[in-house]
Symmetry: C2
Subunit: 135 residues, 2 copies
Amino acid sequence: MAIELEPIGFVRVEASDVPRSWRRSKLEGALVIDEMYLEGLTNLEQGQQIVVIFNFHRSPRFSTELLRQTPPHSEKESGVFSICSPVRPNPIGMSVLEVLGVEDATVYVRGLDMFDGTPILDIKPYIPQERDRPG
Amino acid sequence: MAIELEPIGFVRVEASDVPRSWRRSKLEGALVIDEMYLEGLTNLEQGQQIVVIFNFHRSPRFSTELLRQTPPHSEKESGVFSICSPVRPNPIGMSVLEVLGVEDATVYVRGLDMFDGTPILDIKPYIPQERDRPG
């Protein structure tokens, strides 16, 4: 039961030294979205935070010996679903980026942790976690 | 350039009345993960928050007239990338759930906004947004 996805666009970034996590990144670049989705970018505005779902297109194929991994700068081996490793059963990444501006179907962003050419699968609004869930 | 993903497991939930958003959901159920990924669940613990990436498997096929949509309980039409609509160019959803417990390869969770049978694509740690990004 395969699920087939098509990129809606690609990351453009000049730096080759890309931070490992958006949490510690100030790297700027662009999400160049396919013109066919231009209308879908309505309401994206400067200063806003967005969730970007993307494909780890340069990751090696996953294999079962990678179900536990020791992240860089850690000494503790963890289950792959407890860490943000780019080598995962489904090579999907998620970053929270800041919108610097939108021009046509290009979204300029800050906080990149993706390589140049990364296929973008989705953009969602980032809504800080506020639950109405007492207990 | 299609990206092919395979479910790592499926959502099991008894209720048929599923809240529209995890933010307002207390619905409990389970993520039944394929046994082959059991080791990857190491470190998942009760009380933890996780990000679950899933497939909107019951959504109709996307078409360009859906690039702007008016969400329920809203009067404002928005670009699809600014809202959480399940009808999107790539039918990928993201929810933050609370782990109630783990038994074998089944993760019991609270906060579900997915239907029974929803294909799960990934589980990631939920790390509250804390940026080292002054300005």
